[in-house]
Amino acid sequence: MVEVKLYASLRAAAGEKRFLTEASSVKALLREAKERYGNEFAAKLKLATILVNGKNIAHLKWKNTRLQDGDVVSIFPPLAGG
C-alpha cells in the first residue's frame, strides 16, 4: 500500500488527511485522487507540489515516478510563511 498525505487547502478540499492506494505510479495516483475528491480538489491539484518519500517528483521521474509498497506521497498547495 502507498500512503498519500494531503495538506492545507488540499486537505480541506478532500475532507480527509490521507488515503491509501495501490496505484503504481504518481500519474495513476493523481487520476485516482481526482476521481475520489472531485473538481475543487482537481483544480487545486494543478498548483500542487508532489513529494515521494520527501523528494519532489521534479527530481525523480516526474509523474512517471513508480510507487512501491510502503512509499509515502505528500501533496501540498503553494505555501507561504516564515
Partner: protein, 653 residues
Amino acid sequence: MIGGYMGKVLEVDLASNRVKKYALPDRMLELYVGNKGLGARLLYDLLPPSADPLTEKNVFIVTTAPLTGSGAPSSNRFNITTKSPLTGAIVNSNCGGDFGIHLKRAGYDALIITGKARRPVYLKVDGDDVSIEDAAELWGLDTQKTQEKLPAGTGKIVIGPAGENLVKFASVISEERVAARGGVGAVMGSKNLKAVIAGGDQKVRVAHEEKFKNTCKKWRELSRRHPATGEELPRYGTAAFVNKCNATYTLPTRNFRYGTFSEADAVSGETLAEKYLVKNIGCRGCPVACGRQVELNGKKIKGPEYETVGLLGPNIMNADLSAIIEFNYQADLLGLDTISLGNTLGFVMEAGEKGLLITDLAFGKTSGISRAIEDIAYRRGLGDDMAEGVRFLSKKYGGEEFAIHVKGLEIASYEPRGAVGQGLGYAIASRGGCHIAAGYPIYLEANGPITVDPHSTIGKPGLVILNQTTMEAVSSLGCCIFTVYMFLPRQLIEINARSRFVSKMIRSGFLYGGNLIGRALSLPAWTLPVPPPFFMLPQVKAHAHCTGRRFTLGRLMELGKRVVNMDRIFNLREGLTAADDTLPARLTEELQRSEEPNSRVPLAKMLPKYYQFRGWSSDGVPRSKTLKALSIEQEPSLPGAAADSSGAAIAGN
C-alpha cells in the same frame, strides 16, 4: 520634499534630556531609502566603534520607510537597528506593529535614542512635543499591561521583564507584533527605557496620489489572487510550513539532530486552524492577515507563528500544541524571542542528557518549561545563564558542536542539512542565524512550489545572493518580506506543475543560472534600466509613485547589495571576521540521515564563491571598488553625530 518622507528625524539623548530634530541628507535617503537600509547606515554613522551594546554608548534606532503609513498594503513596517548584545554584530529587527505609522504621524521618519536614563523612563513623542516621563509604575509590568497603561490611540514599543533584566534575547513588542531578534529589548532595558509612545496628526504625502492609489489597488488584488498569499497563508498562517518542512527534512527536531518529527501534524498550521483558530489577525493595513487569534482555556490570545511552533515544538520534542500556544503567550508577555528561547531550551535539554549540566528539562517533557521561561526572564538559577543564549552556555558548559547558533544568534526553524543553500545563507547572514538575513533560499530548495536540488551546491552561492539582495531591498522599501512570495506568480507555479519540460527549464535556470545571476547582480544599476514586472514585484512601482522617484530593477538590486555591504562593513569594524561566517559542527559534519550521503552542509565549497560574487576578498572583506560602485562611504556621513551634545533640553527625569 521627496514623497513618503516626513522630512526629519528625532534624536533623543536620555542621559542629558536633550533632543535634536534634523533632516537627513537627500542623498542618504536616495541611497538607503528606509527601514533596514537606512537603519544600517545610521548605526554605522552614529555608533562609536567597538561600543559595548549594553552601555549608554549603544544607539537604538527606529526607522520607517516611505511606504510606512502611506496606505500601501503589507507595508506598515518599522525597523529597529542597534548593536546586538547577543552577537556584537548589527541587528535589524523588523516589526509590523503600528508604531511606525504613529511615528510618521508625529512627523518623523526615524527615531534615534542615545545615552542612558538615570532611572526607568518612557519617551513620549506627541508631534513636536517630546518628553521623557517617569516609568516607575510601569517597570516590572509585562508587555500587555504596559501597553494598557500607556495612553490609547498612540503607537507604542515596549519591553517586558526580560528586557529590563537584560536578557540577551529580549524582544520589543508593538501591539501584538514583535521585533524579536538579537536582544533589541535588552538594549532598551540597558537604557532604562521601558517604552516609547508616539502620536500626531500629520499625514504621509505621496508624490503621485492617483497613480499610487491605483497601484496599491492592483497590488492588493494580486496578493488576493495569489494562491500562497491569497489563500494558504490567511487560512493556515505561517505554521502551514510545519508539515512541508517535515516532509522535506527541514524541520528542526531534537535540537537540530533530525529534520523530521513523527508528530509534526499535531502542531501544524492545519491543526491550529482546526482546533484553536478564532480569527485571522495581522499587521495594520495588510490584506493577508497571516497572524492567528486562538482560544485557549476560554481566553482569546495571539497564536504562534511557524518559527515558534518549530522551535518550541519539534525542536524540544513537544507535540502538544496547546503548550506551544501557552509558551508563546508567556514569552510575548515577558518579552522574549521565541526562536532563541526554543534553541536555548533544546541546547539545555541535550546538554543535560549528556551530563554537561544539571537540569530537570528534558526532550518530550513539557513540565518545567514554563518555569524555565520565567527563570530566564528574571535571571533565576540556571535561567541566569540561559538568558545569555546558546553560545554562552556552550562555552561555559561545553557542547559547542551542538550549540545551534551563528555569530551568537540562535538559528531559525529551518534545518539546513535539508537545504544546503539555506546553510550558506545562515553562515553569511549579517545578524547571525536568521532565516531572513540568510535570504530564505530554502523556498527555492525545499519548501516552495518550485525547487532545485536541495543537497547540490551548484548555483547555490548565486541563488543566495539573488534572494538576499531582493529581500534586503524589499525590506528597505518598508514592505513585509512575505510580499516577495509573489515573485513566483500563479501562472509560473501552474505551468511548472503541468509541464515537465518547463519545470526543468525553470529549475535549470535557477540552478545553473544561479551563479550567472550572482554575477549579473554585480553589474551597475544602469544596466537594468527597466522596472521589474509588476506582477512579480509590485512594491517597486508603489515606491516610485510614493516618492516620485524613478525606481528600476537595477536600483532595487543595487539597494539590496548596498544594505548587505553596509551591514558587512559595520560587522568588520566591530571586530567580526570571515571566521564568524560559519555553522555549528552538527550541521557541517554530522550526517542528518545515514541514507542520504549529502545531508550535511558543505559550507567550505560554497563560501569562497559567495565572497567572490559579492566583490569581497577571500577574507570576506568588501573590496574598495565594490564599495565605491555602491557609493558606500566608509567615513561617517551624518552631520549631527551622536557624540555631539548640542540640542534643545526637554523635560525629563
